[in-house]
Symmetry: C2
Amino acid sequence: MATIRELARLCGVSSATVSRVFNNPEVVNAQTRELILSTAERIGYLPNESARTLATKRSRMVGLIWDTDHRRPGWRHPFFQEILIGLKTALSERGYHLLMLATSEDGTPDDFLRAVRRHNLDGVVFIDNGRDDPSLQPLAASEVPCVSLDRPIQGPRTTYVTSDNADGAREAVRHLHATGRRVIATITGPTRTRPGAERLRGYLEEMAALGLAHRPELVVEGDFYLSSGYAAMRALLELEEPPDAVFAAGDEMAIGALRAVTEAGLKVPEDIALVGFDDIELAALVPPGLTTLAQDKAGFGTAAAAAVITMINEDVTPPPRLLPTPLVVRGSTGPDPRF
Amino acid sequence: MATIRELARLCGVSSATVSRVFNNPEVVNAQTRELILSTAERIGYLPNESARTLATKRSRMVGLIWDTDHRRPGWRHPFFQEILIGLKTALSERGYHLLMLATSEDGTPDDFLRAVRRHNLDGVVFIDNGRDDPSLQPLAASEVPCVSLDRPIQGPRTTYVTSDNADGAREAVRHLHATGRRVIATITGPTRTRPGAERLRGYLEEMAALGLAHRPELVVEGDFYLSSGYAAMRALLELEEPPDAVFAAGDEMAIGALRAVTEAGLKVPEDIALVGFDDIELAALVPPGLTTLAQDKAGFGTAAAAAVITMINEDVTPPPRLLPTPLVVRGSTGPDPRF
DNA sequence: CTGAAAGCGCTTACAG
DNA sequence: CTGAAAGCGCTTACAG
């Protein structure tokens, strides 16, 4: 591994000049610059990132906090992979790498902050795991740029990215209403989560706006997982006056609901129309096709990357970013040509 | 941020001693050790990783190469998330972090190797993306410990982890045979991929072992995606003597095949039995439940972590690791109580 | 068991 | 536009 010193000697300059070529190229004489660059190429010189980080206190690495392991099973993000691709791509275009942070064995509450300090991470992206994690508090309270997905966090240099959940829910209700349904129920996510609460709010607002009576028994809480949608739908079918449409706050729950409807001998969309949320892959695959509000999966990653890089470089905190959730119409609210 | 020098001064020792407490604790006097440890705790001292890496040439970071971005869409790993959890967990238990490597903008063939050198990565894990990636060649040829998932790689310090694909395929055929099927077709993965080729080999071997005639028209190539399974199944149904059982080399293809069977007015498992491979989540959710060979998703991550850490610390190259693929029987090869 | 000293490979005022 | 020099925060023979 060639070092900056060897490269400098080979070019007959000081290592300061070589360093400038890589960090501030416009400041060095064009000819020497070219000489240095081509020599670097020839001998395979690569700047040592540890040394750079040590000297500059900036690592050009962003931490990813995604707190899940085999001991805490059950949580799967509906589109973690897409977020990660978006994040990785956007970050690497700006010259940043992603370091996956693991909660360390000792599990003290400032674990993540410690990892950030040890590695001189320039910022952090946090994927909500649906739980309250005390390790986040010290991090958020620090001066480290933090962007969170789907969950507002408090701190001097924090912001978040999320879908416009309330708006999406409103559109779901509007769409069901437009197809002629009048008894519209909802299966919510856990209302302690932000997306759960917001989607419920949107539902309630739009029901009111459309002049549809609010019937509390039409609101059933689920937990985003398939089986809760199944159970909730069975409960709804037991009602005196069952709904003719259901907005489920997540596609998995909607698919569970779909199964319950089918098992009850009813048909989707004829007897009951269904709208989900997320647009997971399965939504397009399960007959008769699930109408849903699409979350901008890659957009999450891209927006998070943009936000954290802004905070790193400009010392400003961008406002929370709300991503639109386009309605994708499939067979569960009307005929789908493919099925 | 307290430095080792301040901590040393506070404790009345040299920084060499402090360093030893963190790297070689047994070598320092118990009392001073305790003093240093407690003082470190009190003032919040954290060793600076960049400085350590610079001094030792070891970063305690492993690179993850997972070469996918939005410009190359289409590829999704069937259980990337599970692998990543397994990998992250196992690595962090040994004190390693995971750095996600991005192909850099310039895209030269030694991109990954360059990243490894710049960051002093101790090793690398590579998730097969189903394509041949020339960037891997220089890395594999180097002295950097590399473990690859699902694809053998050549190099002085390389090994790989994969499912026992041939054995799983054999078991699939055996199971179908045991349930009374005699005309057993297969929908293969791309045979240029290792898993695709191995699963086909297992199928052929077991067919021969069972004395079932080899009929070339019963072998149809797919690409692991759902639609290819659908198309392949339609082709199989057109045969003079259609199969009464199909082993699809991936669950997605099996689910596509399932749809084709249903659309043709036939029933699974009565008319045609189906076995998949992978045990993706959907396999349990799609009626009548898909019998499949389960890949040990977390095991991939754990085994990869173990292999790379062995190579890092012991300078030996562990042999390739073959993970077993237990048969999970569901409704597609017989009655499933849940449907 | 411990310390003084050199070294890891960069960057960055400072001076010219 | 460039160089000499100090500094970033550790580790590790070497000597005691």
